[in-house]
Subunit: 158 residues, 4 copies
């Protein structure tokens, strides 16, 4: 109840899933804070991995998939968690403190045990970072798990 | 212009300054992501420092004080940046992945060169973390600077 | 066996416990990397919490207390983890990229359920950061646990 | 002088450059701390980017290239900093708190403005993470700079 109340107060906290010309995609705004920068004056390169992980988490959240339920094993699966298996990253432009960025997340492909996302970070129309991300669901002993039907449906809006 | 456009699309991205019974204060929602947790299952203790720094930055942003302008030395001061001089921290309750937290920031006292804030992090009505934070404006050679009048006015709302 | 081998190859990786005029204390070297700095050019303030947490972990490691064993509940206790309950922090001098710092950790006081440490970060003879840290052992439901005798002995050197 | 003194006290702090069967490479030990893990119990995926950045920085340090000198523009170049342009990452095995890992860094190719590294993170003989990293030297307005001869020589060992 109070979560619902909070969600009303901050309606866009998890970004938005939008449909349209380019297909279904998730958008999340990111503000660049002190913590995200380094002494060069630019955004620290590993901060983009944190930004796009927030995009993935909030995409899944809005689609109805919750990390804590997966870890608790509710839904009939073993306790498990999403892990990243592979990434290709392009650092295209520098970004700086105080800037407003936007993470876009799209599902590219989905197989029995993995899904692949295309994620970009933009400042207005400029793409500053682009990534291809392969995600696997693993049990707590590290073994890949078949994606539950509910997770597949949520991801593909199937 | 595009910043203004983005600000319209994500109206609450920097939280809100609210007035009322308890006095003027800034509220910022924080979602707990993977990056904020550690192997214990709880939020990593140093993550709270990142959370409340975002609260301070967004309070100052909404009040009209921008890190990049200070660093560029616009406004007639030497290039400078806010640094934390002293903190007292109370870690009161654990928080966990996916939870929605709220940072509250209030100005406690202000002197010629420093200001002191009282910051709390809450999950609904429960305070999970509380801090007293003394902030100083320093030039890039590390010397404390007198707070410009515009900064003082912004912080105290005149 | 291979851990032992690795420990031989990198003998000082966990720093050193030294005794002497000032009493028993643990020393850990810290190199300042990109990740530790922010756009101001200085070390990001929350990075010091990571530095001193490494100092605490390596002090406990050399004293024979291991996080993973505590979490696994070996040694007859419930699964538990150390959490920080309270901290007082003084940010005294700026530090910068590439600098070599040293974390010093001393036990101040110890009670049935908590211990308090005094930790400083120095660059040569200059103290750049100082902290008082109160640590509690909690079970995974967040309840404070009595410190096991073996942990007390390790911390106080018997 | 005091840096030299400290370097004597902690001789392996920046790891080691070794030659041999597999060619010239840099090795750096990494201890997994609280800060590196997430609620899944494993090392947080973005932590590997911090680990290999330390490997790159210490490889360059031992080879005689220092971030701060580049940023200060000593050596006849504009003030500049290394930035990552592209990365391919494979997350092969989970790693956990308290484990001892080792980052290996090798130079793959070098061109006028970029160099490419092959970096792996191992726990004993097991490769847990592998990356290909393309690095560019940029001036502070973000423009790629020709690698100075001294930097080229340092990277390739002449």
């Amino acid at each position: 109840v109070s979560e619902a109340g909070a969600a009303l107060s901050w309606p866009d906290l998890a970004g938005r899933i939008v449909a349209g010309e380019g297909g279904r995609r998730h958008l999340l705004p990111i503000r660049v804070y002190y913590e995200d920068t380094d002494f060069s004056g630019f955004v620290y390169h590993a901060s983009y991995l944190r930004f796009i992980e927030r995009g993935r988490s909030d995409f899944l959240r809005l689609a109805g998939v919750h990390h804590r339920e997966l870890l608790a094993g509710t839904g009939g699966t073993k306790p498990c968690a999403f892990v990243v298996r592979r990434m290709s990253l392009d650092f295209l432009k520098p970004a700086r403190i105080d800037e407003l960025l936007e993470v876009e997340t799209r599902v590219d492909t989905i197989t029995q045990a993995t899904f692949e996302l295309r994620q970009t970070v933009r400042r207005d129309a400029t793409v500053v970072f682009a990534a291809t991300v392969q995600v696997v669901l693993v049990s707590l002993d590290g073994r890949p798990q078949r994606l539950p039907g509910s997770v597949r449906d949520a991801i593909t809006a199937g």
